[in-house]
């Protein structure tokens, strides 16, 4: 059933003291995780309204995945309803009541010192369970295979690495990128994964053998700026839809890399033929798209900023956005809720905002 982007409204807003970098929901949809410039990861509880800080990283990070530790038994919707029924609703009072139990899960997060940390994510105060030196230089993104067995990471050492998601054992290193690898994601089949680098090459790998099956062209997102003599590019956000479409978010038409003067862009690849479509904001906007995702009706959604923050929606075949939202601040990442009808943005002001497109019943 198609969603109505114009119906988007704020469901929850959290405020952290430091600017946020990235965000991700857990598969049950109860928690929103957000990384921050103070090196902590915030866990926002959508049921109780509470928040917890995960302390352990010594640097920034944007990449996170949540791995279920067992079968899903809890239902955050029912949990939220029961909390509301207890009369405490949301707020300081609700925090005092015992929170409904969450299913156990592991949060795996990456940082710019190249480290991966496994956390007991559902604990009252999660702590690091395991630390792995994953990359030389920034580990920029993390992805989890659909079966939860394999972890993929990528970073500034131009490498993509595969790990045993349960034990942290290194399985395989995928070489071939010639520049910093910004993002990585699995195909829903689990047999393939894609990674995108600074120079605009997207590599499609066989997850079992590690062979590079093909290169996809996202070079429109890269530019060597001859005035400043530096490269700007990379998929700042990346997502793969259930039908295999791959969306890469970034900046294009760059006339001044060091001032970020350019236009936000989402490059959308068709899985079958690898052809791409350039999705743009309908209203000319100067800035960058930092995060991207797919809603449950197939709508592509991206968040970014320039002078102010924006969220853009692309429904249907139109290459121009069909709707635009103006969040209160510059959006640095966007995550879609597992139900596919809600999304969160992580802002430079430290705000994390959850929007819902659900119809009011």
């Amino acid at each position: 059933m198609p969603l109505d982007p114009t119906a988007a409204r704020v469901e929850r807003e959290y405020r952290h003291a430091s600017p946020l970098l990235g965000c991700r929901f857990d598969p049950s949809g109860r928690y929103l995780f957000a990384t921050s410039q103070d090196n902590s990861i915030l866990r926002f509880d959508l049921v109780t309204g509470g928040r917890t800080a995960l302390v352990g990283h010594a640097s920034w990070g944007r990449g996170m995945v949540v791995r279920a530790a067992g079968p899903r038994t809890s239902n955050p919707e029912r949990a939220a309803a029961s909390v509301a029924a207890r009369g405490g609703a949301i707020g300081p009072a609700a925090v005092a009541l015992p929170a409904p139990p969450a299913d156990p899960f592991t949060l795996i997060s990456a940082d710019y010192h190249g480290k991966l940390i496994w956390w007991n994510g559902h604990a009252a105060t999660p702590t690091p369970v395991r630390t792995v030196e994953a990359h030389a230089g920034w580990c920029r993104a993390v992805a989890l295979s659909p079966d939860g067995a394999t972890l993929a990471t990528c970073g500034n050492d131009n490498l993509v690495k595969l790990w045993d998601a349960a034990t942290g054992a290194h399985r395989r290193t995928l070489t071939g990128h010639t520049s910093h690898v910004y993002n990585v994601a699995f195909h829903p089949s689990g047999t393939r994964l894609v990674s995108a680098d600074l120079l605009g090459t997207v590599k499609d790998w066989d997850a079992a053998t590690g062979a590079c099956v093909r290169d996809l062209d996202a070079k429109v997102m890269h530019k060597y700026d001859p005035t400043f003599r530096a490269d700007i590019g990379g998929a700042r956000g990346m997502a793969v839809a259930p039908d295999g479409r791959v969306a890469c978010a970034g900046i294009t038409n760059v006339s001044n890399a060091f001032a970020g003067v350019g236009n936000p862009l989402v490059v959308l690849f068709d899985w079958a033929d690898g052809k791409s479509k350039a999705l743009k904001p309908k209203d000319v906007f100067q800035g960058t798209a930092w995060g991207v995702g797919f809603l449950n009706d197939g709508t592509v959604i991206a968040g970014g900023g320039g002078s102010g923050g924006r969220v853009w929606f692309w429904s249907g075949a139109d290459a121009n956005s069909t709707h635009t939202l103006t969040p209160p601040a510059h959006v640095r990442d966007l995550a879609v809720h597992p139900a596919g009808d809600r999304f969160a943005v992580a802002c430079a002001t430290g705000a994390a905002v959850v929007y819902t497109l659900r119809r009011v019943s």
């Binding site: 103070d38 640097s59 710019y112 400043f228 530096a230 060091f258 970020g260 960058t288 900023g305």
Partner: protein, 426 residues
């Protein structure tokens, strides 16, 4: 046209028109033309002082280089790493330089007062606050004049820059022969060699006629532009006579590898050749550091280009016994803000940033000045570009309290309200 008294009285200009036309048509060769042999040049170069400025254009971030603040609200994601100087740490983006920190001194408390590119460059290179009615010469012109002088064989003030670019009138009252000679992209200039069919005699002779006509013109129509024009021919002659110096390909493959095959490496290697050939001042610009957007990614790229060649240069200068006589300065026009903006950028900042010095007259390993815990203010020993200017001069054995005398008016070489930073002088 200001009637400045340019110091144009060099012997080269004294060849008379009569001289040309009297000898015209004669075929007598002039022998080896009396140029200094390469050996004597090298000896001269070792004893003379010279200056190398590595200019990180755009405003390099002190957080990402010399004054890291990891784990603070302003520090960003990078680590601080130990260096060859116990107790001194710099940003992890400069590992090769870190291993050579004992050759360098850091000043971390610079307040250059002007968070602006053009003005910032001006105060950093003149060591002066802008003043109405007078344009001060840049450091390169001062060095060329005071270290090299009028009779220098090579142009004394050379600027190696990444792209194209014209010259600038940066010698002001010192005269156009000390103005920077740009060497765009470090390439030897085109048309450097004489066309076939033109003998050295004929070239000299025709140039004498050109000069005498120019002299006559200049007697009543001097201007900064016409003076610069006249001086440029003498300069071209000097460059022609040492054309080999510009040819970086004469270096061994091994040396080229050490510096790195990319532009900045090549430019630093050319700088070393020029300094070795007796050029008093070489400035090598590295572009660009004005990172208002994605500051951290861009500093990885730019400092990645800077670190290894700079370390190679320090080693090379040391190996050749040139380090004691060459002042090395790494500067920018300003620093960058402690506050990280929405686009992961840092903006302009002049309130507390860093400059690094090394080589001649400098105490390796010295650290002067401190910023506070998160780099938002200067905590100790605030200095300005005027103090640095005094320091450069003292380091190469010059007296900053001397005067120039444009139009018979005394103008102090350096700002008399300031003095050298004695803690970093050897």
């Amino acid at each position: 046209m200001p009637h400045a008294d340019y110091a144009c009285g060099s012997a080269a200009h004294a060849v008379s028109r009569r001289g040309f036309l009297a000898t015209a048509g004669a075929t007598a060769a002039l022998g080896t033309a009396g140029f200094a042999s390469p050996d004597s040049t090298a000896a001269l170069a070792r004893n003379q002082k010279r200056v190398l400025v590595v200019y990180l254009a755009g405003g390099v971030s002190q957080f990402e280089t010399w004054d890291p603040k990891p784990g603070t609200d302003t520090g960003g994601p990078f680590r601080a790493i130990s260096t060859s100087v116990p107790g001194t740490q710099i940003c992890e983006l400069l590992p090769h330089t870190a291993a050579r920190m004992h050759r360098l001194a850091v000043v971390r408390s610079l307040n250059s007062t002007t968070p602006d590119h053009a003005q910032g460059e001006r105060v950093m290179l003149t060591g002066r606050r802008p003043e109405a009615g007078i344009e001060y010469p840049h450091l390169g012109a001062v060095a060329a004049k005071m270290l090299g002088g009028e009779r220098a064989e090579m142009p004394g003030h050379i600027h190696i820059l990444p792209g194209g670019g014209g010259g600038r009138a940066d010698a002001t009252f010192l005269g156009p022969q000390f103005a920077s000679v740009p060497v765009p992209d470090g390439r030897p200039p085109a048309n450097l060699l004489r066309p076939s069919g033109l003998t050295a005699d004929a070239d000299r002779a025709r140039d004498a006629l050109r000069q005498s006509l120019t002299d006559r013109f200049s007697r009543s129509r001097r201007s900064a532009a016409s003076e610069a024009y006249a001086a440029s021919f003498a300069q071209a002659e000097r460059v022609f006579n040492r054309a080999d110096v510009f040819d970086v390909d004469r270096e061994s493959l091994k040396t080229a590898e050490r510096y790195g095959r990319h532009d900045f490496g090549r430019h630093l290697l050319l700088a070393r050749r020029l300094l070795e050939a007796g050029v008093s001042y070489v400035k090598v610009s590295h572009s660009n550091y004005d990172t208002h957007h994605e500051n951290f990614d861009f500093h990885i790229e730019q400092l990645g280009e800077f670190d290894r060649p700079f370390a190679a240069l320090l080693d090379d200068l040391s190996d050749r016994g040139m380090l004691e006589s060459t002042l090395v300065v790494v500067m920018s026009e300003m620093g960058r803000t402690p506050k990280i903006n929405e686009r992961f950028g840092r903006d302009h900042w002049s309130n507390g940033w860093s400059v690094v010095l090394g080589g001649a007259g400098i105490k390796g390993g010295a650290v002067v000045g401190r910023t506070n815990a998160n780099g938002t203010t200067i905590a100790d020993r605030e200095v300005g570009p005027w103090h640095l200017f005094h320091t450069y001069l003292r380091a190469v054995g010059l007296d900053p309290e001397r005067n120039f005398h444009p139009n018979q008016r005394p103008v102090p070489v350096a700002d008399p309200r300031a003095s050298a930073i004695s803690e970093i002088l050897a």
